[in-house]
């Protein structure tokens, strides 16, 4: 019996060991698969697909559940058009739904496809917690700000209410006082007397002319200093920070994400104007970036303003015709009588944007940094050395100087004096 027991024990121990090892290898193979699949996914799929949101193609979560035939799904990944042409209804509907966007062929082996699908499955099963975590964070964040806003609002409300109570109580007190006085026989004439007394107080001024004189002098002095200050600031708008139609943060775009100034203000290096980007430039990133993680899965209201301006439907990814411009407010204004050319300063002189515009990459809301006055221009022009060496812009000028040094005749025409716009502009 003892022998018997030990055998069964041995057997069962063995089975358990075997089973565990089997399960272990199986799961580790799966994990391994998913890891390989992650690489394949990132190399081949992310430019059009995400796991839990629709991008150019559908969200890939539960893709294995949506396709009845796993073999066909694999075939679709490898050569989607063939599956569509073969007459599979699901594939054809999918193609229709995504505006006939052709998914390119992917030269992946069967094993690679398995790892890819394993990765999508593990990632797709995860999102419940992954999505919940940032959502919870966002919720906590909004809660935090809400609490803050409410506390401030509440305090203000409390103060206002207390003030109102004070005023009301004061008035009640006054009328009660008057009632008592009226009861005591002090009638209206008493009130008239009080008013007369108050008026006679002004006679104090006549009695104290000196004091009044000093007082007036003080105010005149104060207002002339203030006026002087105001006069100096006429047409000088340093610090001007208008509220823009979209809460666009240069700090996030140019600072955190290091998008170069030129990417959006592409005119700054080749034309007079730095140019405000048209909304299609916004869409180069914001066709994907919607900051949904910060707004509980909703598209950011500020990014939505771009979509509204372009009449863009993020669900179908199509543009309508009811477009309207975003009316940005110009921060840096030069007077119309001053000619300024961006490209001359950026491309020729190589001056950084920040020299005149300040640390824009750290500004949440842009404000005017430089005074943009004539003296400001002149001071910089006096101090800046011309970088003529290796600068093609000055080649002709330097060459002409050499000619003059050699004693050759240099005419106005040689310096561009025959250009039409020198006279006809």
């Amino acid at each position: 019996m003892g022998f018997h027991l030990s055998i069964t024990k041995k057997l069962s121990v063995r089975t358990i060991l075997m089973l565990t090892s089997f399960v272990l290898t199986f799961t580790s193979v799966k994990a391994q698969d998913a890891k390989v699949g992650e690489g394949i996914f990132k190399a081949n799929c992310t430019s059009c697909h995400a796991i839990d949101r629709q991008v150019i193609g559908p969200a890939l979560k539960d893709v294995d559940k949506r396709w009845a035939d796993k073999g066909l799904l694999k075939k679709f990944i490898v050569a989607s058009q063939e599956v569509i042409k073969s007459g599979d209804k699901y594939a054809a509907d999918l193609f229709q739904k995504y505006n006939g966007t052709v998914m390119p062929n992917h030269n992946l082996s069967d094993a690679e496809l398995d790892s890819l699908l394993a990765y999508i499955k593990t990632e797709g099963d995860k999102p419940a917690e992954v999505a919940a975590a940032p959502a919870a964070g966002a919720a906590a964040g909004t809660d935090g700000t809400l609490v803050n806003n409410y506390t401030i609002g509440g305090l203000i409300l409390l103060i206002v209410v207390l003030l109102v109570v004070m005023v009301v109580l004061n008035r009640v007190n006054g009328s009660l006082d008057r009632l008592i006085r009226m009861k005591n026989g002090e009638a209206l004439e008493n009130f008239v007397k009080v008013v007369k007394e108050k008026i006679s107080n002004f006679k104090w001024m006549l009695r104290n002319k000196k004091k009044v004189f000093w007082f007036l002098l003080l105010f005149m002095g104060a207002f002339s200093v203030w006026g002087w200050d105001q006069m100096w600031n006429i047409n000088v708008n340093t610090g001007y920070q208008p509220t823009q139609p979209i809460k666009f943060s240069h700090e996030i775009h140019a600072g955190l994400n290091q998008v170069n100034c030129q990417y959006c203000h592409s005119g700054a290096f080749k034309s007079k104007n730095a140019s405000i980007p048209s909304a299609n430039v916004c869409m180069n990133c914001h066709n994907y970036v919607q900051a949904t993680e910060k707004y509980n899965g909703e598209i950011s209201p500020e990014i939505k303003k771009i979509y509204t301006a372009l009449d863009y439907n993020p669900e179908t990814r199509t543009y309508g015709t009811n477009t309207k411009p975003i009316e940005w407010i110009r921060v840096h204004n030069l007077p119309d009588f001053a000619y300024f050319n961006h490209s001359q300063h950026t491309t020729v002189a190589g001056i950084a944007c920040q020299t005149c515009h300040g640390p824009v990459q750290a500004m949440q809301e842009v404000s005017q940094f430089a005074p943009l006055t004539m003296v400001w221009c002149i001071n910089c022009h006096k101090a800046t050395e011309v970088k003529s060496k290796g600068n093609a812009y000055y080649d002709k000028l330097l060459a002409t100087h050499e000619e003059i040094k050699k004693g050759k005749k240099v005419t106005a025409a040689m310096l561009g004096g025959l250009e039409c716009v020198k006279c006809h502009y």
Binding site: S47, V281, W328
Partner: protein
């Protein structure tokens, strides 16, 4: 003596008042006082100004249908797989072989217009990608193109076509980058295709 004390106290009061007034007064939301605004504001319309003369109320208008600005060259290849293949087979970079000026221009243009996504080395690891804001584009040197083939084998025309029309999540960049600048960028991208 008495007057002096008074004077000093008046002066003090004046500075306090002036200081508080002038510090409160400047609102950042308004540009401030203007003198002779008719000299400051343009009579002609700026391109970004509203304009009642046009139906859509904007100064910047699209060219009339069927016309083209001087110096404008139509890109004769369509935004499709066929157009892409055709451009890839037929187009040759006018700057091909230039290793000095055009390449240097191309590098600076690439760094300004492409690197925040594609990375300084074209490995698909720019700042936006590193911050996790955008899915990574394939690396020029090791990645595969979604339209077939390795990224490092992309030809002049294919790269030019992609910059012009965009592909997948990359938007079209034709409005920001002139054809000449695009060709210079193509030149530099070829260099990045061979980065180790």
């Amino acid at each position: 003596m008495k007057n002096n004390i008074r004077l000093v106290s008046f002066a003090l009061a004046a500075t306090v008042i002036v200081g508080s007034l002038s510090s409160c007064y400047h609102s950042k939301k308004n540009p401030g006082y203007e003198y002779a605004p008719n000299m400051y504001h343009p009579i002609a319309y700026n391109p970004d100004q509203p304009n009642a003369q046009f139906k859509n109320g904007q100064t910047a208008q699209l060219p009339v249908a069927g016309t083209a600005p001087i110096g404008f060259h139509k890109f004769a290849y369509e935004n499709s797989l066929d157009g892409y293949a055709k451009a890839g087979a037929e187009l040759v970079n006018p700057f091909a072989g230039d290793t000095t000026l055009a390449l240097a221009d191309g590098e600076s243009l690439y760094n300004n217009f492409c690197s925040h996504c594609h990375g300084m080395q074209g490995k698909g690891d720019g700042a936006i990608i590193a911050n996790g804001k955008f899915p990574p584009p394939p690396s020029y040197s090791t990645g595969n193109s979604s339209r077939g083939g390795a990224m490092k084998d992309l030809t002049d025309g294919k790269i030019y076509h992609t910059i012009t029309y965009g592909v997948n999540l990359m938007g079209p960049h034709a409005t920001q980058i002139t054809p000449e600048e695009r060709w210079k960028i193509v030149l530099y991208v070829h260099k990045l295709q061979n980065v180790q």
